[in-house]
Every structure is written in C-alpha cells, then in structure tokens.
Assembly symmetry: C2
Homo-oligomer: 121 residues x 2
C-alpha cells in the first residue's frame, strides 16, 4: 500500500535533535524487513482469516469443515488458507482425499491475545 513518496515537499521546521535522527535511523528496520512485517500483520487484518485461526487453535481440521463451521464456501476458505500458508501461519497434511490444516506455530495464539488485550483497554 505504500505508494510513491519519492520527493516530498518538506516544511522548514525541524524540532528533532541531530542525535534523535541518528537514533531513529539506527533503530528503524531495513526497508525489506518493514515490508515483510506489514505483510505479516495484514494477514491478521481480516475477520475470515482470524476466524480460521481460532478454529485451528481448537483442532486440526479439513477445509470443508472450516467452510461449514464458518458458513462460507470452500473456495473462499481455500483462498484464505493459501494466504495463511504463504505466511507460515498454518501447515497442512494430506490423508487420502482430505487435507488437514493446523497452526504452524504456537505463538500465533500469543499475538492474537495481545491484540485482544489492547482492544479491551
């Protein structure tokens, strides 16, 4: 989503100290890392994906079960599982015709609960 922002017209003021600029530039992650970080959090920015993650917290389940539980089409779930998989939030396992999905990492739960903590003041 970050668009162009090449040469922005800047105002004249500059309140920050020189060492502050230094400090910001040393603490700020690299551009690529920032992009990865934003992409990571964007995955949590959708209720369907969050609901899928909450289902997978309870149990390993197949795609069509998730679709049933959430009242959505298999296709929609499959598309979102792809996103979750690409970000390494879920993993899957084949058993005959069905494919079972589960959480890839246990600290996903921790991130979600920290989010809940914040919105509940």
């Amino acid at each position: 989503m970050a668009r162009k922002h090449e040469e922005a017209e800047r105002c004249e003021c500059m309140h920050v100290h020189e060492d502050m600029i230094e400090m910001v530039e040393t603490h700020m992650p690299q551009e690529e890392e920032l992009a990865d970080l934003a992409e990571f959090f964007r995955v949590f920015g959708d209720t369907t994906r969050i609901r899928i993650l909450y289902v997978l917290m309870c149990s390993e389940v197949c795609v069509c079960d998730i679709a049933n539980l959430l009242g959505m089409t298999q296709s929609a779930i499959s598309h979102q599982l792809r996103v979750l998989k690409q970000m390494d939030l879920v993993k899957n396992r084949r058993e005959g015709k069905t494919i079972f999905y589960s959480l890839a990492d246990s600290h996903i739960k921790s991130i979600l609960s920290q989010g809940l903590e914040h919105i509940n003041e």
Copy 2:
C-alpha cells in the same frame, strides 16, 4: 473486506466431532470482537504506519518531523496519524502551533517485536 457470505453451499462431509464444534463455538470471540481485532491488526499492515511507530518509539515528535524523517508529505503522515490515534496507538499534545505525537501504549513495541520474531523464523 469481509463480504456477504450469507448462505454458502456446503459440502456433505463433516469430519469434526460434535464436541469439537462445541469447543470452537465457545472459544471463538463474538463477531464484533473479531471485527475489532481485524481492524486493530490492519493498522499494523502498512509500512508507513509501522515506520511512524518506530519513530515514536525513539521520541515524541511533531508531524512535520515525521514527514521529514520518512520523506513523505505532511498530509500523508497526518492521515495515518489519524488512523493510529483512532486505534489508540498514539496520543498527541499541543504546544503552540506544533502538535507532538507519542506512543499511547508501551506494549505496542512488544507486538511489533513478536511480528519480527515470526518473520525471522
């Protein structure tokens, strides 16, 4: 983002047990809470906003300093600060003509570093 999904055509299979369905439904947060949660994480899903947060981790700064530091227009920054403020991630303070922004909450840092932990395996 989350669109209609009223009546989805569901496949016939149902692998999950009855008590699993029960468990999912008791652990899944309410619809409104899920929406708030997604909205919260969506704020972190943009590199500009993340960069602003990293700047504010270092120091309380004014809008135009952020614009200068990030090489973007004051307007773009102002729009994003509004989003951050609405989600209670930042607070501000007026001093004459300038308005200083700072982090509203210290555990924002914790959420960001957990994100970094994940993407660095």
